[in-house]
């Protein structure tokens, strides 16, 4: 008869092996571990554990399980819920209630990175939150220095050199100097500086696109125009998250001329900068991809035709293009119909259960913000 052996002590294993084991756990299980012992609680709440766990998660992401999170632009009195869905099909996985208040229900996802989301009120963008729904923690950003303005553009980025996160807010009113504010999570505060890029130092940021500013090669990007009044000559402005320097990039050949009702967007496709444009009146969408970053290497990769006039509301990392067209009843707009197209296969999908335009961003589960200061748990 064998003797009862004592259960093995987890501590007998070297720390890097314990890490190997624990970082394989889904986020919820990791959170549960906090209740096991104090030492386990503190082991889990280190930046090293959080990033090792994140790397595990990222390695497991592929085209079939990649996710997005989206939020409708609502005008109703209450803020709608966020929806987590599969990138490829927009099949809903779950709905998440937003746990904080906005002064205005018209909120947008500014961007996401490593499971951390940045949400802001759309119109003036001065109420901003960082939120990790997987661990139920959020942080309200202090009020930016710059007040409300119609001419605000925003971006959210992971700063890899410092393992930090930044929120960028650009104010470019006509006939005025452009001002930039940057919030860093580690400092918990905003910094402000003036920028002068063009000949007359005036830039308009193309306001019509509501897609999040893409983070590619460590820089955030927006479409901008030079000159006063109706900007005719357009380009891409990039903001390097590490050096905090601005730079101009050319749009694909022939695309720099503005035209009325021309729909243009900039996004990220499989880690590369993508430029999306619809031929008026929105029956054909062309997508260019910058093959090699920073070098003139725009290649027109996809052309997506539509039977009806369509407008783009989202474009995902995996190449899902979400557009809508208006339904008409007795020649009056009576609602929107949304269609999802895989730009590589041109497969279309209709029954999405989406009624309103939305902002969408990449989503994954992570422990980011678990070690954050001044975060709210709910």
């Amino acid at each position: 008869m064998s003797q009862m052996t004592e259960p093995p002590i987890l501590n007998r294993l070297p720390y890097d092996i314990v890490l190997n084991i624990l970082t394989r756990l889904p986020v919820k299980s990791v959170i549960r571990l906090r209740c096991v012992s104090k030492s386990l609680y503190s082991s889990i709440t280190t930046p090293y554990f959080i990033s090792t766990h994140l790397n595990h998660t990222k390695n497991d992401i592929n085209r079939d399980n990649a996710r997005v999170i989206h939020l409708p632009f609502s005008y109703r009195p209450t803020i709608p819920d966020c929806t987590v869905a599969l990138d490829r099909s927009f099949d809903t996985i779950s709905e998440i209630r937003i746990p904080f208040d906005f002064p205005h229900p018209n909120a947008q996802i500014v961007g996401s990175g490593n499971g951390l989301l940045c949400l802001a009120v759309l119109v003036y963008g001065n109420v901003i939150y960082l939120w990790n729904p997987s661990i139920r923690k959020f942080k309200k950003l202090p009020d930016p220095c710059l007040g409300n303005s119609r001419f605000v553009k925003m971006g959210f980025a992971y700063h890899s050199e410092n393992n930090d996160y930044k929120v960028v807010r650009i104010l470019s009113p006509p006939s005025s100097a452009q001002v930039v504010e940057v919030y860093t999570l580690s400092s918990g505060s905003w910094r402000r500086f003036e920028v002068s890029l063009g000949a007359n130092g005036v830039y308009y940021y193309f306001r019509r696109s509501l897609l999040p500013a893409p983070l590619v090669s460590g820089a955030l990007h927006w479409i901008a125009g030079e000159g006063e009044e109706d900007p005719k000559d357009r380009m891409i402005v990039s903001f390097d998250v590490n050096s905090e320097k601005f730079r101009k990039l050319a749009l694909p050949p022939g695309q720099n001329i503005d035209a009325k009702n021309l729909e243009t967007h900039i996004s990220s496709f499989k880690g590369k900068l993508a430029f999306i444009r619809s031929e008026y009146p929105g029956r054909v969408f062309s997508i260019w991809v910058m093959r090699e970053y920073g070098v003139d290497s725009w290649t027109k990769l996809f052309v997506v035709p539509f039977q009806r006039i369509s407008r783009c509301t989202a474009f995902t990392e995996c190449g899902s293009l979400l557009v809508f067209s208006y339904n008409y009843k007795n020649r009056i707009k009576s609602g929107r119909e949304f269609v999802l197209v895989d730009v590589e296969t041109l497969q279309e999908k209709n029954d999405l259960g989406i009624q309103i335009s939305l902002s969408a961003a990449t989503f994954m589960e992570s422990l980011v913000l678990l070690d954050g200061a001044n975060v709210v748990s709910y």
């Binding site: 002590i9 190997n20 756990l25 549960r32 096991v36």
Partner: protein, 238 residues
């Protein structure tokens, strides 16, 4: 005569194993020794007992032959073999982890660590403490607070088919029902359990049932399931 090159491995307790070189090279540690020409005599492995070494060799044999071009072993078959192989006593499992780490056999290290992670996934904090002999160094007040702060991590959502109502239920309670338990264990990591053909009223009764069952178990009395719970567990009958 066989022209297959072999190496000799010697365990900590003096057991000798003769192994094909290709199999032994699944271990990056041994591979390094062979390439550095240190493998003429028996390679001593003072950190691995004979019992564990024989298991590691078994693993390496199985995984070497599967990478042969002529091998008919499919991924599923290999996975099934792995599942069978890893079904060992917890002490042996930990020894295997240490051996896989020391011998640098990546596949085995991944398999063993994932197995332990999967064990942890299902367990409550009390069970984890028991399984791994971890000391609870919280004071009762501290423990209560940390449980309260993280209560949401112990809940799962039960949704009725119309997605109208969602009930947050403590997972250990919900697992009283076999169907739900199975769904959770099939990796519903998003913790939203959709229950088809169940209305909100029934769902409320079911949750009451779960609570009663847990209370009954604690007081060691015989629980009885209402018709509602039977509906969940046996939808055909309804």
């Amino acid at each position: 005569m066989s022209s297959v090159k072999k190496v000799t491995l010697k365990s900590s307790d003096g057991e000798i194993f003769e192994v094909e070189e290709t199999v032994a090279m699944e271990s990056q540690t041994i591979k390094g020794l062979i390439e550095d020409d240190c493998a003429d005599n028996a390679i001593p492995l003072p950190n691995v007992t004979g019992h564990i070494l024989s298991l590691v060799i078994q693993y390496c044999k199985e995984h070497t032959s599967s990478s042969d071009s002529n091998s008919s072993k499919s991924n599923e078959k290999l996975k099934a073999w792995d599942t069978q192989f890893i079904n060992v006593d917890l002490n042996v499992l930990f020894d295997l982890i240490m051996a896989a780490n020391y011998l640098n056999v990546k596949g085995l290290l991944d398999l063993t660590c994932q197995t332990v992670a999967d064990m942890i996934k299902e367990k409550t904090p009390e069970q984890i403490r028991a399984m791994f002999n971890i000391v609870n160094d919280f004071t009762p007040e501290e423990e209560e607070e940390v449980r309260r702060e993280n209560a949401w991590a112990f809940e799962i959502s039960l949704k009725n088919n119309n997605v109208v109502d969602t009930f947050e239920v403590e997972e250990s309670m919900a697992k009283e029902l076999q169907t739900i338990k199975n769904m959770i264990e099939d990796n519903y990591t998003d913790s939203v359990i959709p229950l088809h053909n169940v209305t909100s009223d029934i769902l409320e009764l079911v949750i009451e049932d779960c609570k009663k069952h847990v209370e009954a178990a604690e007081s060691e009395s015989e629980p009885s399931y209402s018709l509602a719970s039977k509906l969940i567990d046996d939808p055909l009958k309804a």
